[in-house]
Structure formats: structure tokens, C-alpha cells
Symmetry: C2
Subunit: 476 residues, 2 copies
């Protein structure tokens, strides 16, 4: 009864957005007077219209979009949730879908086609005018998480030789006649199309009359290749406070620009993926509320099982010391305490290094500097926990809450084991992201559960060897 | 020898940036011909000049900044690392420091003063012209993580009644005469200063001649109050693809705007804090490579100690079952395996819910929907791990790798315990962020180590009760 019988996502109440509030009115208009819809909604942001659409019965979303001017409908489509957008386009007739998709910005057009069934995407693509089709096919060829996959081809560039007045007239003409997504920044190019300079639209406006654009534009331009990772694009955007990053080919010819809104989406997506991976699972890649039950299990079970299989080594490790455990069951009581301390210190160290590597604060070659810092950190943190552990044992003994055999030696064992385990945890946790990066994996895959599992087996061995050293001849 | 003797940060090699490459030339110019510095560097982005400054000996950074035009030096100062910026300003004479700080953008001016010793900040503030001082004091009064703390007061607004030509002339005049940070978006206001509309600079440029700005501007404007949390500002920026979010007071009068570069910084900072907290520590709030050794220990030790003290309950819990452990030491061998599985499943669930709450996908009141999803998830994941556990025990027994007493019953115990522990872990891990949010804490404080600790004690009890149920009369 508890297990869902089919693969449905959770249906979550959304907050009552402006879109949801308007939906009933739109529903009425759709039935009685669809011609009035454009005028009634023309002051609303496309994102709010997407909320309206999402609040309508699914079969009415198509008619609603058809009631809007086509450019407007394309804007709304861009803000719809991915799944829903695919559903709408796949149920529309191909011609109408192609018309809508043609009006989308080039980067969103490519992203949208990528989420459709391959067959539908191909059909729609065939109906798109040749110029837009070629542009879309070019964008589709890039990895969606690369600069090429994120960029739009709607940017404004002018020849570096022209005057400020001519450039301004050109910008004005473009702004009036066509849609260009990225117009806050104007690029200058040489006759071969190579990127030579950059200026903010406001700098062009402020330029003294009679000057040439090359006098106004900045010549040092931050660019990325189409293959650049989205993290690199984000880093440049952040460091130079840009609103768009130009993408150039090997000859320096500008191919497109990544606009800041796509950088923000990429940052937020990366944040979500990091937290999910750090929680010891594969990134969901869609909202928890949208993903189907079995798809979610598919993202969780393999990692959980892998961690479980690795953690089985603890059973083997403890099996080696079964003789000692039989002589001194009291040793077992501290096992969870000791291994969790190793896991926690490792998890701290890992989280620090993952972010430092991601932000470029440290490089792969700095690993030994981290060792020189984490070694004393681990020793000091271990000494702090060790002292607490010793205090706990002696206090319980003296208060009569426990009756440990050889309490002083036991306390010493737990104390030294903690120093060893926490030091090992800090070192292992801090080195793991380096090792993963060196092997070509994302360092953020070094999740807290991963580190804990790694540290548990070693932690147990450290504990039992310390016990053998200190307790031999008394308890053992 | 290993422990650093003083509180110094790690000195990390930075990549050879354009700044670092130029530093030797600048060094030479500083000695021989400082007047040439402005012309030699006028094509460089301020951020690259900040790299130059950072590559110079510290005592030469002041003279380098003095060699630049003051607006340029102020720009460079904005890009310097916080610590270094404070150091430079505090060692400069107050007059010179005030001159530089006056030229900074209002939001960066306030942020900079916030990082100085209170006394130095106060001295500098007294030397700033009255208008800028009042503006800065207003910004300083806001929480730095709120919309008020992030906003700049340099935005462009025009009266809604004027013509497009007049508005464009006004924008041009402002762009030529003053610095305004946020000029990609133009706001329209009524005579009382209340925000009425918004348009992109490009929309103003594209507007047909003879129209009024109120015809061009969009009337639905997304705004935030000054008290809005940075996460809320980021959410609006992302949802509506904005480059600036206006901040209004209770009367709708525009106070300032938060620009997208500050939103990006806030997002990245939040990402870092999340990962660090999720690793079970207090957020460092500065780069790992910059923070002093003992400051870092101060961020790690308290959480590690708190987790340790909570985890001590496992020792107490196991103490309750010491009699059972003495009868069947074999039970101890599976303790790490079982409790870590609970921790791992809890950590997965927590990471999912933390991000869903942060992204607004689920609300506090949705908690019961999550229970209805996590309960079957936990049961299924537990059944998967339980099957693996049973297989491991029976396989080892049959291969002769282990000689367990009552292997079938033992396998059953471990299997059922895993179902219970993983289910409990998934439920506890998913509910913890809700409980924290309900109590007014950040749900992201529900770190993996925190969840693991919570689950360990209960996990042990589940395990031993299952053992008592299944093994009584045989092993126990």
C-alpha cells in the first residue's frame, strides 16, 4: 500500500504566484474571448505567463500559447518546466511546434530540442528555416555543460573601424528589428571577424561624438573556447563581474556569448549536484518533487550499495580482532564512537578541500601544503577529542556509572586511538579530492559517506592495534 | 615542529595571471617612471591590475595605487582580497584612504569599511564628503547578507512622464558625467519617487521616437524589500533572468538595486558555506588558504566535539547490550556496517531535502508528502542492502571464510536490522531539515555527520532489539 504503484512524481503545492492567481481569468477568456488574451497579459513577464500556463489543465496549455503572439509564446515556452515543455511540443502538430521553436533564442532552442524524444526533435528541426536549423545544429553539437552548449549566437558585434554614431545607429536598428538576447555588451571585430574589443552599451552611449568605436572599446577581452567547462565560464564571469562571456574559436573569431542568466543557472545546478553528491548519491538532475519514484531509487541505491559493499570490510577487519573482542568485550563499546570521529574529521577536511579546489584557491600541485596543514590540524583535533574521551571514561568510572576493567589503561587506549583516527581522517579526507582530480574525476565526488567508509576500516585497525599495544598483558 | 608557531595562512602559488606577469615591469616603472604607469595600464581590467598589486611587495602597493588615477585606484581596490585591502587602507594616511574609498561604488565602499577595524573605519568615514558619508552610513546599517546590504545606490531612474528622447539624453548625461554601477536597466518613477516601471537600456534605445517612457517600460516589476535575504534576491534574479533587482521601501520608493555580480558572489558564497556546513563544520567565511591555523581549528573543533559528545550515546547504548555482546561477540562484527548504512541513507535523504527546500521546490507544510515518499524509499533501499547483507553472511559461511554460529539466524538478524536502520535513516534524514527550518535554523545545518550521529544511536538499538527477537534461545 505504501509503495507507489507507478512512477509518479510528488505533486507539490506551489506558492500562489501571480500566474496561479490569474489562471482562472485566463481560463474564462480562453473559452469566451481568446482574442483578448494578448492585450490582457501584455504587461506580464513571460515567466509569470509560464506560471499561468502551468496552472492550466494540460490540454489547454497549447490553445493558450496559440492565443499569444508567436514571439511571446516562445518566451513563455522558455520558462516552462522542462518536462512540461517537452510534453506540450510533442503533442502539438509539428508545424506549430517548429514555428514556436524557431522564435526561441538559439541557446534555449537547442536546449529545448535536447530534452525531446530524438524523433520529435528531428521532425521539428526539419521544419525550422534553414538558417536557424544550421545554427541550432551547430549548438546541439556542443556538450550542454560547456561554453558552446551554454552560448547564444544572438550577440551584437560591430566593425572596429566605424564611428560611435554609426555603431549606435546599428545597435538601435538591431534592437528595433530583431531579437538579440545579449545586448548589454557590444563587441568589436576586425574584417576577419576576430574579436578585438568589448564595451558596455552604456560606454557606447557615453562616448564622445566623433570618436571611433576602437577608441571606446576595451582591448583586453576575457574569452573562453567553446569547449570550456561551465565552471570556468562561471569563474570568469564572477572574477570580472561580466554580464556576458564571449566564446571564440582557435582563430579568435567570436562564435557566441554566454549570458549571465545561463551562468547563474549553471551555478545553481552545480550547487545542487554538489550537495547531492556530497550526500553520497548520484545527482538527480531534476527536482526531487518531479522525479519518479523508481528513477530516484536508481540514483540512490547504487551508491548506497557500493558504500555498503566497501563497508563490509569493517566486518572483515573486526573479524581479525574477534579473539581480542572475546577477551575484552568492553572494547566493542567504543567502536562507533571512534570510527565516527574519524569519519567526521575526514568529512570536514574533504568539504574544505573540495570547495578550495572548485574556487581555484588551491591547485593540484599544492597537495603537500595541505598535508603540512592537515597533519597538525588532525593531531590537534584528535588530541581534543582524545581528552574528551579519556574524561568520559574516567568520569563514568568514578561516578559509578560504569565499571570498566583497567579503566586508566582503557582510557589511554581510547585517547590515543582517537588521536590516530582523527589524524588519519583529516589526512585521508583532504587528500581524497586531490586523488580524484588527479584521476580525472570530479573532486566533489569525495562525499562525506565515501570518506567515512574509507576511514572506518583503517580507524578500526588503528583502534585495535593501539589496544594491543597498551592492553597486552592486562585485558588482552 | 609540525604545529605552526603562529597564526599564518598557507601561501599558495597562484597561476601566472596576466597581473603576475606584468608585476616586474610595473616594479621597474614604479622606481624609474611612475608617471608612465596610467598610460601603460589603461587597457587592463581593474581585476588584472589587482593581480598586479597582489604580486608586488606589500609596501609598494600603496605607491602603485597612488600612481593610478584615483577612480582607477578605487576600482582596483574593489578587486583586492579583503584582508589585503584592509591592510593597505589601514596603513595609508587617513586622507588618502578616504579619497580612495569615496571613489568606490557605494556598496563596495560599505563592504570595505565593514572589513576594517572599527576605529579606522570611523576615521575614514569622517573624511568622506557628507553626501557619500550619509549614503554609506545608511548602507552600513543593513545586514550585509540582506538585499539592503548588497544593493548599490547608483542606479538610473527617470520620471515616467518624460519622452523617450529626454530619457535617453538623461541616461547619456549620467553615463558621461558620473559613475553609475547599474545602467543596463532603467527604472521609471512617479513624482513621489515610487517605482512604476522598468526597461532594459536596449528597450529604451529601440523605442519609437515620440513615445513616452511609460509606453516602453514594463509595469510589472519584481522588487524586494531591503530586509530580503540574499537567497530570495538570488531566486528572483534567477527566475526572471534579471541583471538587477530593485530594492523598495514600504511605500514602494526605490532605495537601490542589487546588481547581478553581487548576486553571483552571494550564490558562490552560499555554495561554499553549504558544502562546509554539510561537511560538519562552521562555514570558514574566508578561503582555506587565507585563514589562520587556529581560526580554522576554531571553526572545526566545536562541531567535532559536539558530534563526539552526542556520539558518546552509542557507548551508552552498547553498554546496555553488553550482556548480549558477551554471549555473542559475533554481533559486534556487524555494528559498523549497520550503523554506517543508516548514516548513509540519512545523508542521502538530507541532501535531497536541503536543496529542495533551498530552491523552493518544497515548502515546510509539504513534510508529510516527503514522509510518504521516504518511507517506501527507505523500505526498498533497506531491503536491497539487507539482501546484500544476508548474501554476504551466507556466502562467507559456505565458502568457509567465516564460521558464524547459527548463520541463518544471524543473516536474518542483519537483514532485518538493515531494513529498519535504513528506513529510520531515510525518515530521520529527510525530516531533520524540516525540523531545523521550523525552529528557525538554516536547514542546511543538517550535515551528513549530524544525521549520521543521530541515526547511529537509534541504529544500534534497532540492531540489538532485532537480535534479541530473532536470536533469543539460540545465541542469546
Amino acid at each position: 500500500m505504501m509503495t507507489p504503484t507507478h512512477n509518479t512524481p510528488i505533486d507539490t503545492d506551489q506558492e500562489r504566484t501571480i500566474g496561479a492567481l490569474l489562471a482562472p481569468d485566463i481560463l474564462e477568456l480562453l473559452e469566451e474571448n481568446p482574442e483578448a488574451i494578448p492585450a490582457e497579459t501584455d504587461e506580464l513577464h513571460a515567466r509569470d505567463l509560464a506560471d499561468v500556463a502551468q496552472a492550466l489543465p494540460h490540454e489547454l496549455i497549447g490553445p493558450f500559447l496559440s492565443a499569444l503572439p508567436v514571439e511571446r509564446a516562445a518566451d513563455v515556452l522558455e520558462y516552462l518546466e522542462e518536462e512540461l515543455r517537452a510534453e506540450i511540443l510533442e503533442t502539438m502538430n509539428v508545424r506549430q511546434a517548429a514555428e514556436l521553436v524557431t522564435e526561441m533564442t538559439p541557446d534555449d532552442r537547442a536546449d529545448t530540442l535536447e530534452t525531446l524524444e530524438e524523433e520529435s526533435a528531428e521532425e521539428i528541426l526539419q521544419e525550422i528555416p534553414a538558417a536557424e536549423r544550421a545554427e541550432t545544429e551547430k549548438l546541439l553539437a556542443y556538450d550542454p555543460d560547456s561554453a558552446g552548449g551554454l552560448m547564444t549566437t544572438e550577440f551584437v558585434s560591430v566593425s572596429e573601424d566605424i564611428s560611435v554614431e554609426d555603431a549606435l545607429a546599428a545597435v538601435r536598428r538591431i534592437a528595433r528589428s530583431e531579437r538579440r538576447e545579449a545586448m548589454n555588451t557590444i563587441y568589436t571585430t576586425d574584417p576577419a571577424g576576430r574579436l578585438k574589443g568589448v564595451m558596455a552599451l552604456r560606454e557606447l552611449l557615453a562616448a564622445p561624438e566623433g570618436s571611433k568605436v576602437s577608441d571606446v572599446a576595451w582591448q583586453e577581452v576575457q574569452t573562453v573556447p567553446a569547449s570550456a567547462d561551465r565552471a570556468q565560464v562561471a569563474r570568469i564571469t564572477r572574477e570580472y563581474d561580466l554580464v556576458a562571456v564571449p566564446v571564440v574559436d582557435d582563430n579568435g573569431v567570436i562564435q557566441g556569448v554566454v549570458t549571465v542568466d545561463d551562468v547563474i543557472d549553471a551555478l545553481v545546478e552545480e550547487h545542487t549536484e554538489d550537495v547531492q553528491r556530497f550526500g553520497g548519491m548520484e545527482a538527480l538532475e531534476m527536482p526531487y518533487t518531479q522525479i519518479g519514484f523508481f528513477s530516484m531509487i536508481g540514483k540512490r541505491a547504487p551508491w548506497l550499495a557500493a558504500l555498503f559493499l566497501s563497508e563490509m570490510l569493517t566486518t572483515t577487519a573486526m573479524g581479525h580482532f574477534q579473539g581480542e573482542l572475546e577477551k575484552a568485550v568492553v572494547l566493542a563499546l567504543f567502536v562507533p564512537l571512534i570510527i565516527s570521529s574519524g569519519g567526521n574529521s575526514g568529512s570536514q577536511a574533504t568539504s574544505l578541500i573540495i570547495r578550495s579546489l572548485a574556487l581555484g584557491e588551491i591547485k593540484l600541485r599544492d597537495w603537500w601544503k595541505i598535508v603540512l596543514r592537515e597533519l597538525p590540524s588532525g593531531l590537534l583535533l584528535g588530541a581534543i577529542l582524545g581528552t574528551l574521551g579519556v574524561a568520559r571514561i574516567l568520569l563514568w568510572q568514578n561516578l559509578g556509572l560504569a565499571n570498566y576493567p583497567h579503566p586508566n589503561l582503557l582510557a589511554l587506549t581510547v585517547g590515543f586511538a582517537l588521536v590516530g583516527v582523527v589524524t588519519f581522517g583529516s589526512l585521508a579526507g583532504s587528500m581524497l579530492p586531490f586523488i580524484l582530480q588527479r584521476l580525472g574525476f570530479d573532486p566533489a565526488s569525495a562525499s562525506a559517506p565515501f570518506v567515512a567508509t574509507l576511514v572506518d576500516v583503517t580507524g578500526l585497525s588503528i583502534y585495535f592495534y593501539v589496544a594491543l599495544l597498551i592492553l597486552r598483558g592486562t585485558l588482552l
